[in-house]
């Protein structure tokens, strides 16, 4: 069995290469004790366990909201937001601050985010 195949490092990532303690049941990579997830009972690597934790639950969207019929939601929210009030963005899983009308502004022309200088994220090179 080779060394731990999980990545370590802060600004530069490289293979950990620590003493192997097992293999991840999800990705099959060899992992040391430091890179096996206690929450998974040491059966998954930290990476795989965290990715699984981040996935939306069944019936929820990526923000953790209950998935509703899009058209109904759009209509209801549009009526609500045009009634003279604007909500304060909470950003939480319960947030209804942004709606389908808002997200449509970000439906790019099919260009993957990685293709833009935004890198799919926040600010560019300042």
């Amino acid at each position: 069995m080779s060394g731990c195949e999980c990545k370590g490092g802060f600004f530069t990532l490289r293979d950990c290469d620590g003493a192997p303690a097992g293999a991840c049941s999800e990705c099959g990579r060899t992992a040391c004790t430091r890179h096996l997830s206690p929450a998974s009972g040491f059966t998954q690597c930290l990476d795989c366990h965290a990715r699984a934790e981040q996935q939306p639950r069944e019936g929820q969207n990526a923000t953790g909201e209950e998935a509703l019929d899009d058209e109904w939601t759009y209509g209801a929210r549009h009526r609500f937001y045009t009634a003279g009030y604007a909500p304060l963005y909470t950003g939480s899983r319960h947030s209804h601050y942004y709606d389908g009308y808002d997200t449509r502004s970000f439906d790019d022309e099919g260009v993957p985010e990685a293709e833009t200088d935004e890198g799919g994220a926040g600010f560019g090179d300042s």
Binding site: D47, P87, G91, E115, G120
Partner: protein, 415 residues
């Protein structure tokens, strides 16, 4: 349960980390500054399919939000929602939370909390998003702006790298006493051997190629220097992006052909030799709202000074904070290819002047822009927060700001 530690400090940024971008450099300097003050902490950033979603490095725990949500806004909200879940785990032990954007800031600020908060404003999405998404709806932009205002109002301190940005924030109603300027930094770049494929004489542009960077102005200026047949322009882009491909097309259209060398995503160890051996570094920032009103702190200019390379840059307020015209380089009117070409030509004919500027650039960078100095200033901000942290722990909403939550979420009246 995701977290393995009980962090006292959180640094959150809706940025992929690490990458070759300036934002990454910034995070790599500032997050450790926070963590050394609090014996470690939690770094929450964006990931992708290659970067680990969860790491522990010494006292630092790193969580990267890695769900591939295609839509930018949905991704930003999902990023915040996951941060909210992490705060459910970590909120009790946190003493300070530092964030770089409203996508992180709102989940941090909206909850009842005992931790102090620092909003690091390098740029605001409401200013920059229209460049990337020109069709963004005004109502959506107003919502983004409202979330930024909420963060600016609710955060205990605001830090920004530029005096221009500080003035902009104050003009937007942020109390001046709340804003601290913590400049970007650049460490000295040692002399490097010339890259083997480097031409004898070249100008350099490096960094990202968003529209506000003005690379089109540089290409048009360079086209006016066609008589200098040995001169080359080296463009080291942080990503071969859509605007980068547009720049390549423009170069082709201008007939620049092999006079422009394109290099992409160079690691620092490869970029530094290109920079250190350039005759001049050009930062042709455009006179846009993003650069002029909001402000910026261009790392490319700082790093050029630190490498002892004279800079030719646009004469804009945030650039004037870093470069004095005629001392470390030359400042030229923005968006004027003819003026840029003329200034470059003049400096190319004055090697002694360039040498004098190179020395001044190194001295200025060492005196005013070392990362150590920036980190020390940031640590001062954290230390000043400690005694007042208790005072800022008042739960939200307050009596003066009654809770008006409904099933649709909290509301405030539109003025």
């Amino acid at each position: 349960m995701t977290l393995l530690r009980r962090p006292r400090a959180l640094y959150a940024a809706f940025d992929r980390f690490p990458t070759r971008k300036g934002a990454s450099t910034h995070i790599a300097r500032f997050a450790p500054a926070l963590f050394t003050e609090y014996d470690g902490g939690l770094l929450y950033v964006l990931g992708d399919e290659r970067l680990p979603a969860h790491q522990v490095e010494g006292d630092v725990e790193i969580v990267r939000y890695s769900v591939p949500v295609e839509n930018f806004l949905e991704r930003a909200v999902a990023f915040g929602a996951h941060l909210s879940r992490l705060l459910d785990e970590a909120g009790d032990t946190l003493e300070v939370a530092h964030f770089r954007d409203p996508w992180s800031g709102v989940p941090i600020l909206e909850r009842e909390r005992r931790y102090a908060t620092v909003f690091e404003v390098n740029a605001l999405p409401s200013v920059e998003l229209p460049y990337t998404y020109p069709a963004i709806a005004p109502r959506t932009l107003e919502k983004v702006r409202a979330s930024e205002r909420f963060c600016l109002d609710a955060a205990d301190r605001v830090v920004t790298p530029s005096r221009t940005t500080r003035d902009f924030l104050v003009s937007e109603g942020v109390p001046a006493a709340k804003v601290a300027v913590v400049p970007n930094g650049a460490d000295p770049v040692p002399t490097r051997p010339r890259p083997f494929e480097a031409p004898d004489a070249y100008l350099i542009y490096f960094g990202a190629l968003q529209p506000w960077q003005g690379v089109d102005t540089l290409l048009r200026a360079f086209a006016r220097l066609a008589d200098l047949s040995e001169l080359r322009l080296v463009v080291c882009g942080s990503a071969r992006s859509r605007p980068a491909r547009a720049a390549e097309k423009l170069a082709e259209k201008l007939g620049l052909g092999e006079r422009v060398l394109w290099r992409w995503e160079l690691p620092t160890t490869e970029l530094e030799p290109w920079l250190a051996n350039a005759l001049l570094s050009v930062a042709p920032l455009r006179a846009t709202e993003r650069n002029v009103v909001q402000g910026c702190a261009p790392l490319k200019v700082l790093e050029s000074l630190a490498a002892g390379v004279p800079v030719v840059a646009s004469d804009l307020p945030p650039v004037r904070e870093i470069v004095t015209d005629g001392v470390e380089g030359r400042l030229v009117p923005p968006d004027r290819p003819a003026d840029l070409a003329r200034t470059i030509r003049l400096l190319l004919h004055l090697p002694e002047e360039r040498e004098r500027m190179a020395e001044a650039a190194r001295a200025r960078a060492a005196r005013d822009f070392g990362w150590d100095r920036s980190v020390a200033l940031l640590k001062d901000v954290y230390r000043a927060l400690r005694p007042s942290a208790a005072a800022s722990s008042a739960p939200r909403p307050t009596e003066e700001e009654p809770d008006v939550r409904s099933a649709e979420g909290p509301k405030v009246a539109v003025a």
